[in-house]
Structure formats: structure tokens, C-alpha cells
């Protein structure tokens, strides 16, 4: 039913197709682009305009921009997915426990969440990067810590609305233990808003990864990542606009695709929100 409604939403389908194409291209990258081309410098070839041997042109060191973008997508998109998965799992556990048990567990978890929510996600991630140091793995941890509070809140709200329903009471009467009730009965029924929230968070995380890369505190050069690529080329963009436009379009398209999917899922899961 959800898929049927989702399928009818043109923008959501465009988003899904776009994202699938991007993910497929990134996964299949080794088949059509040699990984060595990512960092192979040929000063003679610097600033080649897009077209011919270099579809997206070359940068100031003569490196192929297409290779850097397509391998950079692995970090931009997959690190984003990792962040969403980690914060989704931790947020579900914490929000699930807070919502189901209530009382002291709820108070403690939600007060910590409130504290973390008092700081904008971007700044919190930066503080954690400062504490942990640079690196992709640490970047993923930092961004996840910043997103966990949001998931915890959404999951808790979702569980609170289901906690006293008859089917949960019935499960309790049958002697089912708490973990099983949460995992088998409550979570599957309350997942709608959480999945929508996860999709929309992915868009924001992709932008945050690019922003941290651009600021030089995320993925550091020469490892390609869309924000880092923009940062490397910022001085030359005025004279060679493609160096700025192409990575910008990649970030924009992926975030747009993810947001379309998120909006489509929201409408499909809750038909009342559709105008």
C-alpha cells in the first residue's frame, strides 16, 4: 500500500531513480574509472575543460575531476548513510527504552537529549571532531552523536502513542518480555515517522559532511570528498567555474533526491498530509 502511494508521487520516484543511479555509479566506479586516476597528478593537463578525455575536466594538479567526484561520492554518500544508520540504531534503542519504560529511564535519557539538542548539530559535531581528532571514522562518530538526539525524540514520541494500545496490552498478557514487545510489536508499528525522519536527516548529513570537508575539519585533502574538492579548488573557481559548479551540482542533486524520497515517504505513510 505504501509502495503503491509512493509510486504515484512523481517527485519521489524521480528522487529514487536519481539516487539509485548515483549509488550504482559510485559502486560500479572501479569498472570504468581507475582508482589511481583519483590522485594521479599531471601538471601538463591542469585546468582541462570538461569534455574529451576528461568528462568533468581536470583540477589545478591535472587530476581527473570525474574520478575524484565519483570516488568522492563514496565518502559523501556512504559516510552519510553510515551516520544515519548509527544514529537510527542508537536513537531507536534510547527512544524505545525512554518511551516504553517511562519514569526514571525516560527522564534521564530525555534530559541528556535536551542538553545535546541545545547545541546546533553542526557545532556539536565540530566539538566532537576537536576532541577525537581528524579521520573519516571519527567524522562519522561525531556526526552520529549530533543526530542521535533527534532520532531518540522521534522514536520516543512514536512509542508513547503506541504504548497503551490493546495489541501491546495483549502481548504483555501473553507474558512476552519487554525487549520482544519493543522490537516485534511497537517498533514495526511506529516506524513510519522514524523512517521519514531518517531520510530527511540523510540530506542534512550529506550537507554537513561537505561543509566540514570544506572547512578542513572533516575529510582532509587529498582524499576526495565533494566538500573537500570544492575547498581545494576555491581559488580557481572564478576562472574555471566548472570546478565549483560540478561538485555543487553533485551535492545538490543527491540532497534533493533524498529530500524528494523523504517527502514522498511522508505522504505515502500518512495520506492525510497530502494536499
Amino acid at each position: 500500500m505504501v509502495w503503491f502511494r509512493f509510486k504515484k508521487n512523481k517527485l519521489a520516484m524521480i528522487g529514487l531513480v536519481l539516487l539509485l543511479i548515483m549509488v550504482a555509479a559510485i559502486l560500479a566506479a572501479p569498472l570504468f574509472v581507475d582508482e589511481k586516476a583519483v590522485s594521479a597528478q599531471k601538471i601538463m593537463n591542469r585546468f582541462q575543460k570538461p569534455g574529451g578525455a576528461h568528462i568533468f575536466g581536470t583540477d589545478q594538479f591535472g587530476r581527473d575531476l570525474f574520478a575524484r567526484i565519483i570516488y568522492g561520492g563514496r565518502i559523501s554518500l556512504f559516510a552519510g548513510l553510515a551516520v544515519v544508520c548509527i544514529s537510527f540504531i542508537v536513537g531507536c534503542s534510547l527512544g524505545g527504552a525512554a518511551g516504553y519504560f517511562g519514569g526514571l529511564v525516560d527522564t534521564v535519557i530525555m534530559r541528556v537529549v535536551d542538553m545535546l539538542m541545545a547545541i546546533p548539530a553542526m557545532l556539536l559535531s565540530m566539538a566532537v571532531v576537536a576532541a577525537l581528532g581528524p579521520g573519516v571514522d571519527k567524522l562519522i562518530i561525531a556526526l552520529s552523536i549530533a543526530q542521535i538526539p533527534r532520532f531518540t525524540r522521534v522514536v520516543r514520541a512514536s512509542i508513547l502513542s503506541l504504548r497503551n494500545q490493546e495489541f501491546v496490552e495483549a502481548a504483555k498478557c501473553c507474558g512476552t518480555n519487554s525487549a520482544r514487545i519493543i522490537l516485534k510489536h511497537i517498533l514495526p508499528n511506529g516506524m513510519g515517522p522514524v523512517i521519514v525522519s531518517a531520510t530527511l536527516t540523510l540530506g542534512q548529513v550529506i550537507i554537513n559532511i561537505a561543509s566540514l570537508g570544506f572547512l578542513g575539519i572533516g575529510v582532509s585533502s587529498p582524499t576526495p570528498e565533494w566538500g573537500t574538492i570544492l575547498s581545494e579548488n576555491k581559488i580557481n573557481i572564478r576562472y574555471y567555474p566548472y570546478l565549483g559548479i560540478i561538485p555543487g551540482i553533485c551535492i545538490g542533486l543527491s540532497v534533493m533526491a533524498v529530500n524528494f524520497i523523504g517527502d514522498g515517504l511522508r505522504d505515502a505513510l500518512d495520506p492525510r498530509t497530502k494536499n
Binding site: V112, P120, M122, M126, A130, G133, G216
Partner: protein, 307 residues
């Protein structure tokens, strides 16, 4: 109401305590020795021990935390590990730039975003509606620093209309405010439009129209007033994210605000500065949320202050 405000301000204290504690906790788990960071890896063992004692790092984590918090409540945010300057004066010097930039960005986003959202809702499925939705989608999907860079190239380097970087005159803040406000502008359009469309379908609007109230009055008195609550909430949330976004914008346009201070502190792992910045931001965000809650009561008389 003053009692309510006082209670809410008091509630900021546990938030600040909690944030500092969490950062302390993360720091205690993180690798690296701050003494080596400050003195360099070739410093002698004695010098490192002395530095650790000076920074209080030889004490247990909980004692370090208690000392730090006591000092913060006395207005002492510690000294930068890198240049030894006091954190508070550094802050006070930079805060006005960040607040000015943030306020300008919000002003731009609200002044343009809300009316455009209202018009889009009234003229649903017309050209204005499609235009506002499309611009919201595009602005929402692109990172602020990208806009900033492109605006800098177009308006400063190619057309020469506005200064590219710095913070000397109000003109210097136009491009940064537009950059920082772009994302908030997009969320304002979306939020206002959705909220208005929800209200327009309600029975009381149909009643107002049926009894012959002029359309302008229906929109301003009935639709706007009732649809404004979620929009005001969005403004509050946006101001908080604005503090986060301003970090990037300040770096793109070389504005000497809190953001650029934080970036340099993160790069050099200058923890006292990072910690001070977070405390400051948490307090500002707390105060903004309080202001938003107070505005609620003015817009919607049904909302009452509860201590």
C-alpha cells in the same frame, strides 16, 4: 510572566552543566595529551608534567570538571591552549559580528520568506506557488558555503557590486547574510505555505467567507493569525541552526565572529575555546527558545505561561 522567564533562565544552568560534562567525558576518552599539543612532541618530561599540573590535567576528571564549572560561574572561561589569551575577552570581541550576521540573515529570510509562503498558499497551483516551491527545493538542497562562494564570485569578483570579504561596513554583511539566510528562507517558505494551506481548509475560514468578510481581512485576521504558530516555532529553530551555519559563512567571507574562532580552535584542538563557544551557543539558543515561547502567548491567547 517574570516568574516564568526567571524559571526558564534558571533551567539553562543544568543545560550548561550537562554540556560541559559531556564534552569533558568525550575529552577524557579521546587520545592525545594536551600538554604535548601545547609544548610540542620534543618537550622534556619535566616540562610536560609541569604543564599538566598547570592545566589541572593531573587531577581526576571529575575534579577537573568541578574546577572548570566553578570558574565558569565566576566568569572565567579559562585560557586558550594555543596563545594563552583569556577566552572570555576573545569572545566578547567576536560575539557582535556573529549576532549581527545571524540577525540580518533571519531578517532577510523572514521578511521575504513569510510573504512568499503566504502568497504561494493563497495562489496555490499558480505560477507564484510553483516558483516559491522550486526556489525552496533548490535552496534547501545546496550547502550554504557553495552559495557563498558563487555569490562572492558573481557579485564581488565579476560584477564588483559588493565587497567579497571582511566586516568593516554594513555593505560587507549583505552577501554573508543572504548566504546564511538562503536555507532559512527556504524553510520559511515551506513552513508558511504548509501552515497556511492547513488553516485555509478549516471550517471557520469558510464561515468567515460565507458571512461576507473581505478576502484581505480573511487572510490577515483569520488565516495568518492562526497559521503563524508553527511558523514562529520554525523561526526559533532556524535561529539555532543559524548559529551553526554562521560558522561556515564566516569562514567563506572572512568575518571575525565566533564561527571562525571555533574553526581555528577545532583545528588546533584548543579545548577551552571550543568549550566556551559551546556554552555561549547553548545559552543563546536557550534564550531564543524562551523568546519564541513568549511570542507564542502574544500570537495565540490560548497558550498560557506555566511555571
Amino acid at each position: 510572566m517574570s516568574k516564568y522567564i526567571f524559571r526558564r533562565l534558571l533551567m539553562l544552568i543544568p543545560v550548561v552543566l550537562g554540556i560541559t560534562f559531556l564534552i569533558f567525558l568525550i575529552l577524557s576518552l579521546s587520545p592525545g595529551d594536551p600538554a604535548i599539543l601545547i609544548l610540542g612532541s620534543d618537550a622534556s618530561h619535566e616540562a610536560l608534567v609541569a604543564k599538566r599540573a598547570e592545566l589541572g590535567l593531573d587531577k581526576p576528571m571529575i575534579v577537573q570538571y568541578a574546577n572548570y564549572v566553578l570558574k565558569v560561574f565566576q566568569g572565567d572561561f579559562g585560557k586558550s591552549w594555543i596563545d594563552g589569551n583569556n577566552v572570555l575577552p576573545m569572545f566578547l570581541e567576536r560575539v557582535p559580528y556573529t549576532l549581527y550576521l545571524g540577525s540580518l540573515a533571519m531578517l532577510f529570510a523572514v521578511i521575504l520568506g513569510i510573504p512568499l509562503g503566504v502568497v504561494a498558499a493563497i495562489k496555490q497551483h499558480h505560477l507564484v506557488d510553483y516558483f516559491s516551491i522550486a526556489s525552496a527545493i533548490i535552496l534547501f538542497s545546496l550547502p550554504a558555503f557553495w552559495f557563498g562562494m558563487m555569490a562572492q564570485i558573481l557579485f564581488s569578483l565579476i560584477l564588483g557590486w559588493l565587497p567579497a570579504a571582511g566586516a568593516d561596513t554594513p555593505r560587507h554583511f549583505i552577501l554573508p547574510a543572504l548566504t546564511l539566510g538562503a536555507n532559512i528562507f527556504a524553510s520559511q517558505i515551506r513552513m508558511t505555505r504548509t501552515s497556511m494551506l492547513d488553516v485555509v481548509k478549516q471550517d471557520f475560514i469558510r464561515t468567515a467567507r460565507a458571512k461576507g468578510v473581505p478576502e484581505l481581512k480573511v487572510i490577515t485576521r483569520h488565516v495568518l493569525r492562526n497559521g503563524m504558530l508553527p511558523v514562529v516555532t520554525q523561526i526559533g529553530i532556524s535561529f539555532a541552526s543559524c548559529m551553526g551555519g554562521s560558522v561556515v559563512t564566516e569562514m567563506v567571507f572572512s568575518i571575525p565572529g565566533i564561527g571562525s574562532l571555533l574553526i581555528n580552535a577545532v583545528k588546533s584542538r584548543d579545548i577551552p575555546v571550543v568549550m566556551g563557544t559551546l556554552i555561549f551557543v547553548a545559552i543563546v539558543v536557550g534564550i531564543i527558545n524562551l523568546i519564541v515561547d513568549i511570542i507564542y502567548a502574544f500570537i495565540d491567547p490560548r497558550v498560557k505561561f506555566k511555571g
